[in-house]
């Protein structure tokens, strides 16, 4: 005879299963199955326009490793990710600390910082392209007014990737700020009081109390920012198309061009899986770095 407790547990599991089932089926049919099909295609020479496919084994993967454009795109993507993630965390944490404590009108600031997150990335990229225009852009106009030389935001190979970083950080920092703000609010105030008794104030309080207890929130922000950074596509598509001098050539943009411009679907699928493996490895490393035994 099943005990009452066991029966409740089973009913709880059944209810959870039922509630998760629609999303799970959707995920399987519209995400996992296409992913498996793409994995299969990655072992074929598969032109986009023709149903004919030729099995070539690991040739696509071997070609990718020897493809200078792919290597260049990979390096650019890694550099972009590192720069964006670090900058995003620093700025988001700064903003979160600024808006942590209540004051009248705090809601306006929090909303303003979150607004770019809600805006379409195509629109954001188009607007920033206009802002970045060397002759007619607002940013260079301000620099000229301040008697500073104009910057070739999108036409200098040394600067173009940084221009993408600025757009990426501006777009996503609001979301990171919210997550870190939640983390900050979750730290019990009595820990700061206890620390103050021992003489920990200001910077030492931040370093020894705030940062350790923010690790979980930080992990979430870092992993998500890294994944988003690796998905860099729209700003490049709108603003630079990979130039100048391939300085903004990124992985996802190259995958897109390989599939839809060069019609090499098999090769593009192989590149996608290499990207997937890299992101999984990076996420695993980040989980390891940000693991914490500190609880409250």
């Amino acid at each position: 005879m099943i005990s009452h407790r066991a029966r409740l547990k089973r009913e709880e599991y059944q209810a959870a299963f039922i509630l998760l089932l629609p999303a799970a089926i959707g995920l399987i049919v519209f995400s996992f199955v296409p992913i498996l099909q793409a994995f299969q295609v990655s072992f074929y020479d598969a032109p986009l326009l023709s149903p004919q496919r030729t099995f070539i084994g690991l040739e696509n993967y071997a070609t990718a490793i020897g493809d200078p454009v792919f290597i260049h795109a990979l390096i650019n993507t890694l550099v972009y990710s590192v720069e964006t993630v670090i900058l995003q965390i620093v700025v988001a944490l700064g903003l979160a600390l600024l808006v942590r404590n209540y004051f009248p009108g705090i809601g306006i600031f929090r909303s303003a910082y979150f607004l770019p997150v809600m805006t379409s990335l195509v629109v954001v990229s188009t607007v920033w392209k206009i802002l970045y225009h060397t002759d007619n852009g607002l940013i260079n106009s301000i620099l000229r007014t301040a008697s500073l030389p104009p910057v070739h935001w999108l036409t200098s190979p040394d600067i173009a990737l940084w221009s993408m970083v600025i757009v990426g950080v501006w777009k996503e920092v609001g979301f990171s700020m919210l997550v870190l703000l939640g983390g900050l609010h979750g730290i019990p105030h009595d820990l700061y009081e206890a620390g103050a008794i021992d003489g920990a104030t200001g910077w030492s309080s931040f370093w020894h109390i705030t940062l350790p207890l923010l690790r979980r929130a930080m992990l979430f922000v870092v992993v998500l920012s890294t994944i988003n950074a690796f998905k860099l596509f729209t700003p490049i598509y709108v603003m630079t198309e990979g130039g100048p001098a391939d300085s903004t050539q990124a992985l996802v943009y190259y995958i897109y061009r390989s599939a839809f411009s060069y019609y090499k679907v098999g090769y593009a699928s192989a590149l996608s899986f290499i990207l997937l493996i890299m992101v999984v490895i990076l996420a695993a490393i980040q989980f390891r770095i940000f693991r914490t035994d500190v609880e409250y």
Binding site: E11, I18, L21, P22, L49, T134, D135, P149, Y263
Partner: protein, 443 residues
């Protein structure tokens, strides 16, 4: 129905049925044709057949795709309506997409096994033909029909000696000059290919009309509608005796990095980096708002200026020249999908659009004629400014390399000329680009 002891089982069954139903609906083959990108652009209104279907002609529906443009679609809708009146058993569903999305949509349609029957195709003919997507049309194009076209018109539609498209029209470029700025600078504007500017004369004119305030350029002497693209820049190479690919289209080394090509690209790059008469970044509507004095643009730019900026004064001037004259030509062709189930009707439509209604299309669309019979008989093409375009079309026509790796060539070439325009050494840049192209062309 509801079991008090196990209510969850019932909910489970209901949820599974509902979910499977939703999935089945999502996966169902659509019965309606896909809607165009712009909801304002709908299918051409189908003219009601005025008579019973022709004897022996079962009703057929054709899907026809073209580039989205208000002027072009209006013109095409009229022609499609006339076609449907003349061929009551054939109904044509017209769909249009912005140029930036057109080949994505078309390629995806082919990939999904659901391409249109008849569609516009351009320099990418070789790409599509190489993958078996296009119907070969040699058996349908008569000798008389073929010979009526300007030779350059067929270049983009032929792959490995076989015809995969029929030209709709022709397109070429010229220089549009701000008449007031030219007058103020005291510049005489040539009106024929014979008197066209040399490189030096053009550069001098552009320098005279460039205006700066401090380090900011308020008026650029020269601008290009298709900035730093093969369409606008490759003629510079050709007019200096250079090439982009070898004649067999198999290599770029020896062509793209040949001395003649490097010289041409060096001069063109100096317009950006040394004489600084043209910017790397495009200024939207720059010509009509006085930001560019000389503007290199296709013949299709004229109607845009005349319709939208009627008070703006400009002069059409032939493209500058060097050892020879050279201007890119091309345009849309009409192709048929190899998988179409209605070959006869698809050809009937193709022939109607490209031969029967050629004059009508040219008149309404503002494109240039591709047929000699129309060029020889229509008086307006002998008048200025049409005469500038027609002279270029007949004496200076150049084509882009019709390679099956066109998109890769486009990207690589664009990257190279942009790098040169931003100061990179031309020889090294073109050597690297040639190497990259050789590897891809060999695959």
């Amino acid at each position: 129905m509801f079991n008090r002891k196990n209510p969850n089982r019932v909910w489970f069954i209901l949820v599974v049925i509902l979910t499977l139903g939703l999935i089945a609906t999502a996966c169902a083959t659509p019965t309606a044709a896909p809607a165009p990108v712009n909801p304002q652009v709908t299918s051409a209104p189908a003219a009601a057949p005025t008579a019973a279907p022709a004897a022996g002609g079962a009703p057929v529906k054709l899907r026809f795709w073209m580039q989205q443009d208000n002027l072009l679609q209006a013109a095409m809708t009229d022609i499609i309506n006339a076609f449907q009146k003349d061929n009551p058993n054939i109904q044509v569903q017209l769909e249009a997409f912005p140029f930036a999305d057109y080949h994505n949509k078309l390629g995806t349609a082919f990939a999904g096994g659901d391409p249109p029957d008849v569609f516009w195709m351009d320099i990418r003919t070789a790409q599509y033909a190489q993958q078996g997507a296009l119907l070969q049309l040699d058996q349908y194009v008569t000798d008389e029909n073929r010979k009526d076209y300007l030779p350059a018109a067929w270049q983009d539609a032929i792959y490995q000696g076989k015809t995969y498209g029929v030209p709709m029209h022709e397109l070429t470029e010229a220089l549009y000059v701000n008449t007031q700025m030219a007058q103020d600078a005291g510049i005489t504007l040539p009106k024929t290919v014979e008197t066209a500017w040399t490189w030096q004369q053009f550069e001098d004119a552009a320098k005279k009309m460039t205006k700066r305030t401090g380090d900011q350029t308020t008026v650029w002497g020269f601008g290009v509608q298709r900035q730093l693209q093969d369409w606008s820049v490759q003629p510079i190479v050709y007019m200096h005796g250079g090439k982009i690919l070898t004649d067999d289209l198999k290599k770029a080394s020896g062509a793209l990095n040949s001395p003649a090509t490097v010289e041409a690209q060096t001069w063109y790059g100096s317009l950006f980096t040394q004489s600084k008469v043209t910017p790397v970044e495009v200024i939207p509507d720059g010509f009509q708002t006085g930001k560019y004095a000389i503007y290199q643009a296709p013949s299709s730019f004229r109607p845009v200026l005349d319709n939208n900026f009627p008070n703006f004064k400009y002069t059409v001037v032939p493209m500058f020249k060097d050892k020879t004259c050279s201007v890119m030509t091309g345009g849309w062709n009409v192709s048929i999908a190899a998988s179409t189930k209605n070959v006869k009707e698809a050809w009937t439509l193709t022939d109607y659009l490209t031969r029967v209604k050629h004059a009508d299309w040219v008149d309404k669309s503002g494109y240039l004629p591709a047929r000699k019979s129309l060029i020889d008989t229509a008086a307006k093409f002998k008048d200025y400014p049409w005469s500038v375009f027609m002279q270029e079309l007949q004496q200076c026509a150049a084509n882009r390399p019709p390679t099956s790796k066109y998109n890769f060539l486009f990207d690589t070439y664009k990257q190279a000329i942009t790098d040169i325009a931003t100061g990179k050494a031309p020889q090294a840049t073109l050597d690297a680009a040639a190497q990259k192209l050789d590897a891809e062309l060999a695959r």
